[in-house]
């Protein structure tokens, strides 16, 4: 089942999430009674200083690190109740959640297209179809020319685009991104943020982006602030003028630009690229 195909249900709904590490004198409360709801097609930013619990929240929503208490429902399906899994979490993750991290975390021995393809093959997609869709996703994200290159030959921005393509591979209803632009310069960081916004709006996926980057907040539908394990709505900050203009096209043959990304014929990877 694909979350984006069920727009009536929230992409993710968390209620009363609490995460406690250690016990007694060494007890640390990383997350306190956090509740949030993300609608399909919505993209939100999660801001906060280091140690505020952002990554803990993200890993709890991503079914990687279950909370101590609280409930998580994804696409209307209750999957976690406290630290108790109500389904096969690995299988659920495989089918319904896409991840993007600060580092692209591409498999170094697979080229760009294989890095995208593997996510679909793991989800039992036939290899030929998986490859075709992977190529289309790379094209949609403007890095098709890099398809056959190994990750260590790609720039940081190109790697991150491949990582986004991998996150989109199985048409997830929820995409979680943990500081995806931290390793990129401002221009490329903005491109990636815009990409998330585009993916959310075109595909109907809910996207949560943890970021420290206040320069790109205009692309988000909502901004949440997290501190000391608690979450509350934050005021949006204005987009700095130096990043408002068109993005410079990279000199590399497999570079990308705004034009490439947004004017690509395969405008929506969710509608045009069905397996």
């Amino acid at each position: 089942m694909n979350m984006s195909e069920n727009p009536s249900k929230p992409a993710v709904e968390a209620v009363g999430l609490t995460k406690i590490y250690g016990s007694g004198a060494t007890e640390i409360v990383a997350m306190r009674e956090v509740s949030l709801r993300l609608e399909p097609g919505e993209v939100i930013a999660l801001l906060g200083p280091s140690g505020s619990g952002k990554s803990t929240l993200l890993t709890a929503l991503g079914l990687i690190n279950p909370p101590t208490a609280g409930r998580v429902a994804i696409g209307g399906v209750l999957v976690l109740e406290g630290d108790r899994a109500l389904t096969d979490l690995a299988a659920f993750r495989r089918q319904h959640i896409g991840f993007v991290f600060q580092k692209a975390n591409l498999i170094p021995f697979l080229n760009a297209v294989q890095n995208v393809q593997i996510a679909m093959e793991i989800n039992d997609a036939p290899p030929r179809l998986a490859r075709r869709r992977a190529m289309e996703l790379l094209g949609y994200l403007g890095v098709m020319d890099c398809a056959n290159r190994l990750p260590d030959t790609l720039s940081g921005g190109q790697q991150q685009r491949v990582a986004v393509a991998r996150a989109l591979a199985n048409e997830p209803g929820l995409i979680l991104a943990d500081e995806p632009t931290a390793a990129l310069d401002g221009a490329r960081g903005l491109q990636v943020m815009e990409l998330f916004s585009k993916v959310a709006h075109e595909c109907g996926a809910g996207v949560i982006v943890v970021t420290h980057d206040h320069r790109a907040l205009d692309v988000f539908d909502r901004v949440l602030q997290m501190e000391d394990g608690r979450v509350w709505p934050a005021e949006k900050m204005s987009f700095p003028s130096e990043y408002a203009g068109p993005i410079m096209t990279h000199a590399s043959s497999c570079s990308f630009s705004n034009v490439q990304v947004f004017d690509h014929p395969a405008a929506s990877p969710c509608l045009a690229l069905k397996l």
């Binding site: 991503g62 990687i64 991290f101 498999i107 697979l110 393809q117 793991i122």
Partner: protein, 377 residues
């Protein structure tokens, strides 16, 4: 998508070097087995080729291949009186080490019962059997002698008239065949000074009155058991069949070598296992982050297990192939005969399969313990 194949391509140098090392270790495992087979072959060669049905040896001994045996030379005539016996030959056999042409020549000498036995049964690759009662020899090519070459043994020179191939004793020394009288003359040769001393003491000459054994040929269809029973009644002799004498060689002389080679083989297999396990574990550690990422995107355990197991099987298969190629190339240069049988190849293949699977277990264990959380670290 085959992840293992792609990872192998990515780490080709490291895996190729490891496979090379494993291949050499496996070649030695194969070689140990081949050396044992070679020992058995060489040890039993003489017994098989000399074509004797029964061996008469000194009472209470196991014959010249197992221990010192000395029986009267005239046993040959006595044996001919046993019903069913159609031939008897004296057997003289011992090891010589002489200097020749500036090098040490170590050989095992056997006397041929001239004129009945001229060495025509020997696998000659050059020259001819013995044509005279004295001063001719047939030598194995491994001794490095050539036809017409003259060797001094005792007080006389012997001319090489024939060359055999593959005729070595159980200890791997090339064999030399001369007539029985010549063999005994060489065996009982005394230095000139010793002869003078003996003559001064009026002691009798050291006459060659004994031989190591007597070989019996039975008539076709003759009852070997009946002949043995008759000979066992003689107080100074014991009779053995060819199979028994061969068994003494293989399970007496060669058995300790078999155990030693077997143990060495086990050690090499264990070293191969540890080497493979170590490299697979190291490769798995290197991939911890990638494995965590694969798990994060939902890879099942069988994908991770398959990645490591296939790499182990690749290492094993390449190592096995290299072992076969290297062995084929290097074994002919080994000083002792190396015989690798099809059974050895199959056994090694099974062993390699086993060590590949076992060596991957450590890496698999480590990989399965990797948490998807590791991506965040």
């Amino acid at each position: 998508m085959n992840l293992a194949a792609r990872d192998i391509r990515h780490n080709l140098t490291r895996l190729a070097l490891t496979a090379g090392g494993i291949g050499m270790l496996l070649m030695l495992v194969l070689g140990m087995s081949g050396i044992y087979e070679g020992l058995v072959y060489e040890a039993s060669l003489l017994v098989d080729r000399v074509d004797a049905d029964l061996w008469l040896v000194q009472r209470e001994t196991r014959g010249p291949f197992a221990e010192q045996s000395s029986i009267p030379a005239n046993v040959e005539n006595r044996a001919l009186s046993v019903p069913g016996v159609v031939g008897a030959r004296r057997f003289v056999f011992w090891t010589l080490q002489r200097q020749h042409a500036g090098r040490s020549l170590r050989s095992t000498l056997q006397g041929l019962a001239w004129p009945q036995d001229t060495g025509a049964w020997l696998p000659l690759v050059a020259g001819r059997p013995l044509g005279r009662a004295h001063y001719e020899m047939i030598a194995d090519v491994s001794l490095g002698l050539s036809i017409g070459e003259r060797i001094k043994l005792g007080k006389d020179f012997y001319q090489v008239v024939g060359l055999t191939k593959g005729m070595t004793s159980a200890s791997g020394d090339g064999m030399v065949f001369v007539s029985l009288p010549d063999a005994q003359a060489i065996e009982f040769d005394e230095p000139g000074e010793a002869v003078r001393l003996r003559r001064n003491a009026h002691a009798p000459a050291n006459l060659p009155a004994t031989v190591s054994a007597v070989m019996i040929k039975l008539a076709p269809g003759a009852d070997a058991r009946a002949a043995i029973n008759i000979i066992q009644g003689w107080p100074d002799l014991t009779a053995y069949t060819r199979a028994q004498e061969r068994d003494f060689l293989v399970h007496g002389y060669v058995d300790s070598a078999r155990r030693q080679l077997g143990l060495f083989r086990v050690v090499l297999v264990v070293v191969s296992l540890i080497t493979m396990a170590l490299i697979l574990y190291t490769l798995t550690l290197d991939k911890t982050h990638d494995i965590a990422m694969l798990k994060l995107i939902g890879a099942r355990d069988r994908v991770i297990v398959g990645l490591i197991l296939q790499q182990a099987l690749f290492l094993g298969a390449v190592g096995y192939g290299l072992a076969l190629l290297l062995g084929d190339w290097l074994f002919p240069f080994f000083p002792r005969l190396v015989i690798v049988t099809p059974a050895d190849y199959w056994l090694l293949a099974g062993t390699v399969l086993g060590i590949s699977v076992i060596s991957s277990l450590l890496g698999i264990w480590k990989a399965l313990r990797v948490s998807p959380n590791a991506v965040l670290s």
